[in-house]
Symmetry: C2
Subunit: 305 residues, 2 copies
C-alpha cells in the first residue's frame, strides 16, 4: 500500500477520503483536517485560550497534542473521579496524562481537579449514596464533570472547552437520538455548543475524525494512553450502537460520516427542522454561582446535601 502523497509506505487507508498515507503525511493530514474542522465550525481563534478535557485516553490526548502542534493556546484539564474498580482506573489515567506532558509537551499546563479530595467523595461512592446515581454512576459522573469543567473554564478565562468526542461518538449519539426521535436533542446536537448565561462554549474538533484515525494518530505520534475504557461504560447502549454502526461502515464505506454530515447539512439548509425544547431560564446557584434551572441549589450542589 503506497502513500497517495509521496509513494512511500502507507500506514493507514482512509477509505472514506480515498487516501492512503505514510506516517509523516498522515500526521500532516490529521492536523490540517482538525484545523479545517475548527475553522469550518468557527470553534475558536488562535488568540483564544482553550481548555482541553483530558481523560488519559487516545482521543483527548491526541486532541491536546494536535492543538498544541497547531499553535493553539491549549491547556489540559484532568478530573480525578476516584474510580478504582479493581484496575486503579483513575490513578492510571492521570499517570498517562502526566507522562504525556512530560514526554511530549513539558511546557504545557495541566489542571488537575480531584473530586474525592476536593469534595469528599469519588464518583462510585457518590453514585451509591445519592438518588441520581441509582443503578449506574454515569449520570452523576456527567453532572460532576460538566460542573467542574465549567468552573475551571470560567475561572481561568477560557474561550471554550474542547472535548475529544470523535465521529464514532457523535454518530452513536445521533443514532440513539434518531431511533427515539428525541427532537429536543436533535435540534441541538452539533460540533459546537454556543456559550450562554455562564455556560462555557463547548467544541468538538474531532467531530469529523473516525475513532480509528485518532487511535492511529496517537500510535504514530508515540502517545501512550490508557487502553481500558471506563469500567462503568462496559455494555453501554452507546457501545452497542457503535457496533451496529461499524457493520454499516463495513457494508458501505463512509456511511458514518455521511449520516452525521448529511444530518448537519440538512438541518443547516432547513430541509429538516426539529422542535427545540422550550427556552429555559437560567440563574445562578445560591451556593456555587453556576447557572442552573433550579430555584435554589444547582443539581451539583444538591448532590452533596
Amino acid at each position: 500500500m503506497k502513500c497517495s502523497k509521496c509513494g512511500g509506505l502507507a500506514v493507514i487507508n482512509l477509505r472514506q477520503h480515498r487516501l492512503r498515507l505514510c506516517a509523516e503525511h498522515f500526521v500532516e493530514w490529521f492536523a490540517r483536517f482538525t484545523q479545517r474542522t475548527i475553522e469550518t465550525y468557527k470553534m475558536f481563534a488562535p488568540e483564544d485560550k482553550v481548555l482541553v478535557a483530558v481523560s488519559g485516553g487516545k482521543d483527548s490526548l491526541a486532541l491536546w497534542d494536535v492543538l498544541l502542534a497547531l499553535g493553539y493556546q491549549a491547556e489540559g484539564m484532568y478530573i480525578g473521579l476516584g474510580i478504582d474498580e479493581g484496575i486503579d482506573y483513575s490513578h492510571k489515567s492521570l499517570d498517562f496524562c502526566r507522562r504525556f506532558v512530560a514526554e511530549h509537551h513539558p511546557d504545557a499546563v495541566l489542571h488537575v481537579v480531584d473530586v474525592e479530595s476536593e469534595y469528599g467523595q469519588g464518583i462510585p461512592t457518590l453514585a451509591r449514596t445519592t438518588q441520581r446515581g441509582r443503578g449506574k454512576p454515569c449520570a452523576v459522573c456527567g453532572l460532576v464533570k460538566r460542573h467542574i469543567m465549567n468552573r475551571v473554564a470560567r475561572d481561568g478565562g477560557f474561550a471554550a472547552i474542547a472535548t475529544g468526542h470523535n465521529l464514532d461518538d457523535e454518530v452513536a449519539v445521533l443514532m440513539q437520538n434518531t431511533l427515539h426521535w428525541q427532537t429536543g436533542y436533535l435540534a441541538r446536537q452539533a460540533p459546537v455548543l454556543a456559550e450562554r448565561d455562564g455556560l462555557a462554549r463547548k467544541v468538538k474538533p474531532f467531530a469529523r475524525i473516525y475513532e480509528r484515525e485518532a487511535a492511529a494518530y496517537a500510535l504514530v505520534r508515540g502517545i501512550d494512553y490508557i487502553y481500558d475504557e471506563c469500567p462503568f461504560a462496559k455494555g453501554s447502549t452507546t457501545n452497542f450502537y457503535k457496533e451496529l454502526l461499524n457493520q454499516l461502515e463495513l457494508n458501505s464505506t463512509g456511511a458514518k460520516q455521511q449520516f452525521y454530515l448529511d444530518f448537519l447539512r440538512a438541518r443547516e439548509a432547513g430541509k429538516v427542522a426539529f422542535e427545540e425544547a422550550g427556552p429555559v431560564e437560567l440563574h445562578p446557584c445560591q451556593r456555587c454561582g453556576q447557572p442552573t434551572t433550579a430555584a435554589g441549589l444547582c443539581a451539583f450542589c444538591r448532590l452533596w446535601e
Copy 2:
C-alpha cells in the same frame, strides 16, 4: 408459555405488546390489530373496494386473508413478472396465489396480469434491453408494477391498493432514508399515500405488524406461501438494514416499532418537519393516459419504445 387471554398453550410471544397468545387468540388479535390500523390511519371503509397486491408470499396472502375475514371487499391482483432464474419463481408464485384462493376463499376474485404475454417481455429481458434496467432489474420491476397496479385499480373502480408491507419493511426503508437524510422521502413515508391526479390511493394495513407476526399468522391459518424471496432481492441494502434492525430489536424489545411510530408521531405533532420535494405537475401520458411528469410518454410506455 401460557396464553395471556385463556391460559391455554401459547404459540407466540408478542414481546413488544407483552402478550403471549394461543393460536385462536393470536388470529383474533391479529385481525383486530389490523382492523385498528386500518381505522387509525383512515385507510378505507367497509363499503370500499380494495385491491390487494399479492405476490404469493406470506405478507400479501396473510393480508388478503385477514381483509376477507374482516368482511372487506378485497380482490387480489397478481402480476406475472416472468422471473425464472432457475427456480421458476414467477410461475410458482402464481400457483401459491391460486391455491390460496381455491383452499381458503373459493369465491374471491383474483386478477392476473402477465407482463410477458400482455406486453411481450418479462422483467429480466426488459431489464437487459433498457437503459433503466442496467445492473439490477428492481427499478424496472417497481415501475412496471406501479403502472399495472394503478391501471387495474383505476379500471376496476377500487378505492385503494393495499400492499403487504410490514413493519420490518417500513422500518428498513425509514432507516435507509434517515441514514441519508432523504428529506423528500421522509416527508412522505407513511402507512397511507393519498390519491392524487389519477394515482390510486395506497395503503399498508400491516405497517404495524412485525414480519414474524405475519409469518406466524400464515402458519396458524394454514396458508401455504412461497418461501423463496425474489432471486433479484438477494443481498439487497434493504435486507442488510433488516439484519441490523433485528439486532437492535434483540437488544431492546420494541425498538423497531418505537423507531417507526415515534417517527410518525413526531412528524404529525410538528416536532420534526421535513422539506417536501417541490410540487410536480402531472398530466396524462399520450399513449396510456396514466399520470406522468414527462412531457410526452410516461416512463412505463417509454420502456417499450
